[in-house]
């Protein structure tokens, strides 16, 4: 056989070996729909993996490709449709969880830390957007607002993940880590601002919001920490001015927080004095009234009736047994950290009754000034480009102010003197105690009742 003949034969193979025309067309349609889906939803990454995944399932089956194509269309078609539908879903929606899951899959499939970080940042941003949308919508029901707890939690998770990713990246690729940390620092600061804006609209989720803010702060702190560390180790090409600006922006923010906290504390102090005066007067007036009521009560009521008596009789009896009554709620307030609504605070020696975890208002009076002093030291540090030291001081001041604000928030009701006085001037409302207090009072009363019954029997 001559080579020329062979080549001729080979050439003719081009005409002979052809894919099945039907398959060719079908596959073209499938490809087109897949590509469209990819461009529309920019899920290239996860789809490639999804494709492999489906393939792996069928790898053993050796099904004819046409049937596999059908499977592709079914699986991807419905999947894409669902994902697109989830995109605008809000917390509480039927598809919201699917949205969250899809996002998680995307993050998990991302190849490197940088991509993971970008996705995670984007998703954290989406969570905040969702919160904003729900809060801003006038038709939002309290229940819908309640659903935001999931959103806040997810946001928090994202921020924590970002922090861990950064730590991982720090080991692998320092330059990249610094680059990302810079973005991360800025973004998480933005997120803190957004959350603080929304905080007031979400009183029911105060704790969740607080946690989310703290997670965000933690991430931004970690990021700036890393930037400074790398800079001081001489391994970063960031300009010192950039870092100084970042730190001093924080100092500025904290100074604002301090000013606000100081004025809040002052208001609280003044309001407490006013309130106590008012309460003292009220208490005197009431004591007189109640002594009278107790008198008539003792005359008329049977012991058994007393236990089931209406609300009016309960407060009356409370004062009738003053020793027991004041002792019980006072203990209670210390153990459970209930706010200053307990009778323990009715006297002139009113103290913010907080549990051991939180310092009292008195204890934090000087804290803002301490924090301020730390910030001034930090500023000096910045001038000397002692960035690490300066940032440590800022963090310290930040911790102090977080605590101070916690105490202020716990006593926030003292900030509004009008409603306090209104409350104080409504004796009935004022007497309404937490449920367990009430029951304790009744318990105490019942024991007294039974004691008297025994005495009577004896």
């Amino acid at each position: 056989m001559r080579k020329n003949e062979l080549i001729k034969q080979l050439n003719s193979l081009q005409q002979k070996i052809k894919p099945d025309g039907k398959w060719l067309e079908n596959n073209r349609d499938i490809l087109l729909s897949q590509l469209k889906a990819q461009t529309n939803f920019d899920l290239a990454e996860s789809q490639r993996h999804g494709l492999k995944f489906v393939k792996n399932i069928f790898a053993f089956a050796y099904k004819p490709a046409v049937s596999m194509a059908v499977v592709f269309v079914l699986v991807f078609g419905s999947w894409i449709a669902t994902v697109s539908a989830t995109k605008n879903s809000l917390p509480g929606d039927f598809l919201y969880n699917l949205k969250l899951t899809t996002e998680r899959v995307q993050v998990n499939l991302a190849m490197d830390e940088e991509k993971k970080t970008n996705l995670e940042l984007e998703f954290a941003g989406r969570r905040l957007q969702e919160i904003k949308t729900v809060v801003a919508n006038a038709e939002t029901t309290p229940q819908q607002k309640g659903n935001l707890d999931v959103t806040l939690k997810k946001f928090q998770e994202s921020m924590v993940n970002l922090k861990t990713n950064l730590a991982k990246l720090e080991i692998k690729d320092k330059d990249k880590a610094v680059e990302i940390a810079s973005v991360l620092d800025q973004k998480s600061q933005e997120y803190v601002d957004i959350l603080q804006d929304q905080q007031e609209s979400l009183p029911e989720l105060a704790q969740n919001t607080e946690d989310a803010i703290n997670a965000s702060k933690g991430t931004s702190e970690k990021a700036l920490d890393l930037i400074i560390k790398e800079f001081e180790a001489g391994q970063s090409n960031m300009q010192p001015d950039d870092i100084i600006n970042k730190v001093s922006a924080r100092i500025d923010d904290l100074e604002k927080v301090i000013t606000q906290a100081k004025s809040d504390l002052q208001t609280i102090n003044i309001n407490q004095i006013v309130l106590n005066k008012q309460l003292e007067e009220n208490a005197k007036a009431k004591q007189a009234a109640e002594a009278e009521a107790a008198q008539t009560e003792a005359n008329s009521a049977e012991p058994t009736d007393q236990a089931a008596a209406a609300e009016e009789t309960v407060p009356a009896d409370n004062t009738a047994v003053p020793a027991d009554n004041t002792a019980v709620p006072a203990d209670n307030s210390e153990n459970t950290n209930t706010q200053a609504e307990t009778p323990a605070c009715l006297g002139s020696q009113c103290q913010a009754p907080t549990a051991e975890v939180l310092p009292t208002l008195e204890e934090i009076q000087t804290k803002p000034d301490e924090a301020y002093a730390l910030l001034q030291q930090a500023r000096t540090g910045l001038r000397n480009v002692a960035l690490g030291k300066a940032f440590a001081l800022v963090k310290q001041a930040d911790d102090i102010m977080t605590l101070v604000n916690k105490v202020i928030n716990a006593n926030a009701k003292y900030l509004d003197i009008e409603s306090l006085l209104k409350e104080a001037n409504q004796p009935q409302a004022e007497e309404q105690q937490p449920a367990n207090n009430d029951s304790q009072a009744t318990d105490a009363q019942q024991s007294i009742d039974s004691a008297t019954a025994e005495e009577n029997a004896g």
Binding site: K3, P19, R28, Q38, T39, F60, P64
Partner: protein, 186 residues
């Protein structure tokens, strides 16, 4: 529009994430790529699956890479070649279990192709058969050079070798194939 300019135009559109444009690219290349893979894998189904994967991969490559693509043809074959390598790598892990099944399947495919081309000479089937007996790199260059009629330059890009090496390889591959054919004749 000449083929070359049309291709450049389509590529440009595909780069801007235009799926329609890429589906036209598919029309231009699907047959070729299928054929190339067909000679390298064991079953028709695998060839079909791998072909669709080649197009997805290429699309992603075009979309994700900011670099200018100089030769789309070469890019396609390169991606196809790598996917076939992956395919065999994966297969070798399942080899022991599947061997028997695949052989059976292959017979079925061969008989199917018989039916599709009743008029084709017996000689032709022999060449197809012999082609499969060649070692991988010989088969590659034979397919690319004589079936797809690509230039030496393009082949060099696909298999990532120098043109001189490609020339030598084609020469040797053709000789080997010729020997195989004659061996059977005698």
């Amino acid at each position: 529009m000449t083929g070359y300019i049309k291709e450049k135009y389509l590529l440009f559109r595909a780069k801007n994430k235009d799926p329609e444009a890429f589906s036209q690219v598919y029309d231009l290349y699907a047959e070729k790529i299928y054929r190339y893979i067909f000679f390298k894998v064991r079953t028709q189904e695998d060839a079909q699956d791998l072909t669709s994967e080649v197009f997805l991969k290429t699309w992603q490559y075009i979309a994700e890479n900011s670099k200018d693509i100089k030769n789309l043809n070469a890019l396609f074959y390169k991606i196809a070649r790598n996917l076939v390598i992956d395919y065999y790598r994966k297969l070798s892990q399942q080899e022991v279990l599947m061997e028997q099944e695949i052989l059976e399947q292959q017979e079925a495919v061969v008989s199917q192709t018989d039916l599709q081309a009743v008029e084709t000479k017996i000689e032709m089937e022999k060449i197809e058969e012999k082609l499969r007996e060649l070692k991988d790199e010989y088969r590659d260059v034979i397919i690319l050079r004589y079936i797809e009629q690509m230039s030496i330059n393009e082949i060099a890009q696909v298999i990532e070798k120098k043109t001189g090496a490609v020339r030598v390889m084609i020469f040797r591959a053709l000789n080997t194939l010729k020997d195989l054919m004659e061996e059977k004749d005698q």
